[in-house]
Subunit: 299 residues, 2 copies
């Protein structure tokens, strides 16, 4: 069975089409890899690429993309709403088919080493690749952002996993790691009260006592004048979509507010949504691997 | 892109393991075809096989299975609860990937012709392959069953589409056709009153004024002492699972009865369940083809 790895590198450039196209061009010319999707956000000044490929191809693509980013993005001139610490800010690897998480950890470490060896960009290993607990959470690693990294790297706790404790002058620092698939899922509310969305986000996110694998913030969608609970579900098997959906529903009811819609950002595994159908339809004895036709087509 | 066709032949033997294994052996030795699943029902005295393959392979497998069935099943000695007219009772072809319904109709006709030419079994073309309206519905074609077929075939309206109007003495008559994927879906109720399940089935099935692509009957699950609405959704895009689920819910409420569970029989396309998640999660701007990871892996 073919081994398939997903890679979703994030770059600190969401405004200059020439840079974004240069990255897309780099991704497309690596054999054994398919660029599935890429999107740029002007406000965030950030772009997210989604690639799949075999282990060798995906490792090569990740390195080449980091190289192109380091040649085209100057972090000393970059600003945007999204927290960031490097031109190629973060490179996650996700096991998709025929490959273990451990194998993806190994891929992440080989790419991390090569990035430092050939490009001189210091690396933190994060999520499942982390070799110390404080680096598991990307938000911890990135705290201080690009501008704070020169000082942060001098602290004994924050010496990079690959490289000397000095940032690359224009490309900063990159986080590399393996992780399970992440589902980016937002829920829209029939209120323009941002405080309600923030209160709901606080109630459901793991860091403040909610669902362990749910990260959530409240934001206002200015064009629609509605509040939104914006989430990353970093382990959709342990914290499924329907569970946070129902939790948002009952937290919102406390304020007399209803859910008017939701949105899935980027790609999600079929199982993340089929688990929701299984819940709402009260399916008995359902066997995802056996009963979904496409699972046989992939074999 | 590889072309993939599903074939789900039904055989009038659900009791003799030697016959069922002979059929499985036949299916497994055809190149270009994978036997995904097969199950036999003793009460129905019927077995259902699920295969996928390329057009040439699936056509060969369908013919070879019909041949094995005609050599091992004697309809003059067969009885069971399920209506049937032939040893190989029905052979549906379903377009799965990279192939049109019209191409599956062409496959069905080539297999039908070969079955008559080489095995002497008369054929009715049904569903999308039907060349006259009265043959579109399999239940119409099969009415009279094996015992009634010699007389039925003499009627000018029921001359077979391939072959002379005489049944094969032991293998009877076979229906062959192309159709969309079918979802077999049952809903369990917290009542032992069969009449309620029958009333709900009548309310939701197309033939009595309900959803056009829903076939439904009420049955009693004797081992659990609960009533069930048992359905075939013959076009899950036009009549989605969640819609009949919600219809059963509100019809049952009329009787003070609730849904306690449901079950999916055999295989279903991922989209049939993801459409349900899209409904219950109120997803906005969801793009099934683009946003489900596995759809890219199949390309």
């Amino acid at each position: 069975m073919a081994q398939i790895v997903e890679c979703i590198p994030n770059f600190s450039e969401g405004r200059d089409p020439a840079v974004i196209e240069a990255l897309a061009h780099t991704a497309r010319r690596v054999p054994g890899v398919t660029l599935l999707d890429y999107s740029a956000d002007v406000n965030h000044n950030r772009s997210v690429f989604t690639l799949i490929g075999d282990p060798l191809g995906i490792a090569e693509a990740a390195f080449q993309l980091c190289k192109t980013a380091s040649e085209t993005i100057d972090m000393t001139r970059q600003s945007g709403e999204h927290p960031r610490m490097g031109a190629c800010d973060v490179i996650p690897f996700v096991p998709i088919k025929g490959i273990t998480m451990d194998a993806c950890v190994a891929i992440s470490k080989s790419v991390a080493r090569r990035i430092y060896d050939e490009l001189g960009i210091p690396i933190f290993l994060y999520e499942r690749s982390a070799i110390r607990p404080e680096c598991e959470n990307l938000a911890n690693v990135r705290r201080g952002e690009f501008e704070g990294m020169p000082e942060k790297l001098q602290h004994p706790n924050w010496s990079p996993d690959f490289g000397t404790p000095h940032i690359h002058p224009t490309a900063g620092v990159t986080a590399v790691g393996a992780r399970p698939p992440l589902v980016a899922f937002n829920i829209n509310l029939n209120t323009d009260n941002l405080d309600i969305a923030k209160a709901i986000a606080k109630a459901i996110r793991g860091s403040s006592g909610g669902y362990q694998y749910c990260k959530a913030i409240g934001i206002l969608l200015e064009d629609r004048n509605i509040a939104q609970v914006s989430m990353n579900l970093v382990n959709h098997e342990a914290t499924p979509i329907y569970r946070v959906f129902e939790a948002v529903r009952f937290e919102a009811a406390r304020w007399g507010v209803q859910i008017i819609g939701s949105e899935l950002i980027g790609l999600a595994p079929a199982k993340a949504l089929i688990d929701c159908a299984e819940y709402y339809l009260k399916l008995e004895h359902f066997d995802y691997n056996r009963q979904i036709l496409e699972n046989h087509l992939l074999e």
